[in-house]
Amino acid sequence: MSDHLHAARPVPWALHLSLLALAVAFPFVFPSNFMVNFGVMALFYAFIGQAWNISGGFAGQMSFGHVAFFGVGAYVSTVMQMRFGFSPWWGLPGAALAGALVAGFVAVVSFRAGLKGSYFALITLAFGEVLRIISNSVDITGGGLGMLIPMKAGVANFQFEERSGFYFLILLFAAASVVLAEWLRRSRFGARLAAIRENEDAAKALGIDVLSEKIKVLVLSGAMCGMGGCFFAQYFLYIDPTIVFGVDKSVEMLLVSMIGGAGTVYGPLIGALLLASISDITRVMTQIQGLSLVIYGGLLVIIIAYLPNGLIDLFRRRGGQPGGKR
């Protein structure tokens, strides 16, 4: 018997710490606005991609509508700030709570009804659309005009003099999401999610409360998406229904995760770096709107054909990790 199995799954500390060091050094090595913005966007996609990955990858609950939780986070935090005068920093827990609540509602409604696979994916898509229409038609959100957050530079206002302030904040989020994913890989909760992803009936037969675990993971994922929404609003200082509830955000979240490697710790980061690079390169080279997603879609086809577990497979060929996805 191979002895390495007796030891707990090793934490790849060298990998984690060297990536973190690289990420911390990045804005000092490339201090231009363009490059820091690239870093912010890459980490932002990595974070919301990881949020999707936790429910869509680790637990196998594919969703096309995670933008529902993202948009609710963006709107709740912005409404708190603009209509009720809260500090934008309070928007962060507010957005997390709102994302969690909406995710909890979606999870209870659809998982209790036994929706799985593509049916679950479609109902989440529908929830996202419903929220887009609601935000478009009520007064408190500013309707279709959206909401503009006034510039007031200062850390107290969630606005940083230097772009790198945003960079380090989103780096903190992304790093925390990696820690969470790493924990899922070696915890009871993560093992149960993997069991649910692979075979729900077998999970039930072993005493796993499938419904409650699925609700928990979607709530967790929704809270993270909500925080991502709050960050997005504060970074761009403008939100409207099509931006924060648009299907493209949902698609980006799941593409980032699937292209990189769904259900893996670093999959979303790899996918996010690729998405952010393609989007910046196409923006610099051409005027065609959305070309990056066209290229990205093409890449997805190629990757699914040749690397069904995502780009991360390129990095772990030699590891020959048995049991793959965990």
Partner: protein, 246 residues
Amino acid sequence: MLQVQGLSKIFGGLRAVDDASLSVDKGRIVALIGPNGAGKTTFFACVAGFHQPDAGRVHFNGQDITGMAPHLIARHGMVRTFQITQPFAKLSVLDNIMVGAYQLHARDADARAHAIAVAQKVGMAPLLGQAAMELTVAGRKRLELARALATNPQLLLLDEVMAGLNPSEIVEMVGIVRTIRDLGVTVLLIEHVMQAVMSLSENIYVLSHGRVIAQGAPRDVVSDPAVIEAYLGRGAAAIHGGGTHA
């Protein structure tokens, strides 16, 4: 330990299980046999909470568990395996068994040690690192058993763990099931392989068209004319002369 009274399950016009009763005493190996389509697997599904029975009661350790959710029944100590094996395909054998072990242990290290100990009991120790999808039929059957065993059940419901195995694998599996019983786990098994049923079980129930048509010691049951007719057709008992069918 397990008492099932008057259990019925109806699918449309079909009475898949029809007023079936059965009881399993602690520490025994009891077999449920019957021709294909007799309702054995449906019976298991009703007992383990995967189907809601239309009538009848199921008591486990004196508690009424009729219609309880499957995961709660499993936590009470009655765990089933599946006839069509349901591995967590992309996970390793060890990770599969650890899912069961995590029901007892919250910590990774404890669950891991427990899972490895279980794997050794069912002879899967050399396969721990393999992905479940790479296993042979015999390996998958053992994995079903190992995963269930890792939850420390009081009663195991084994649904055809011998099906598809070759004769030497059957001998091994019979040994494993006996070992499990000797460890203090009560076993109720559905089985077609008569060699295994005859050598393992102390008490047999025969199900046909959803009804229990015979029960008793293995020798008596296999010579019961009603049982021979259920398997071989009406009139077969007379031809067979109540002889030495096995």
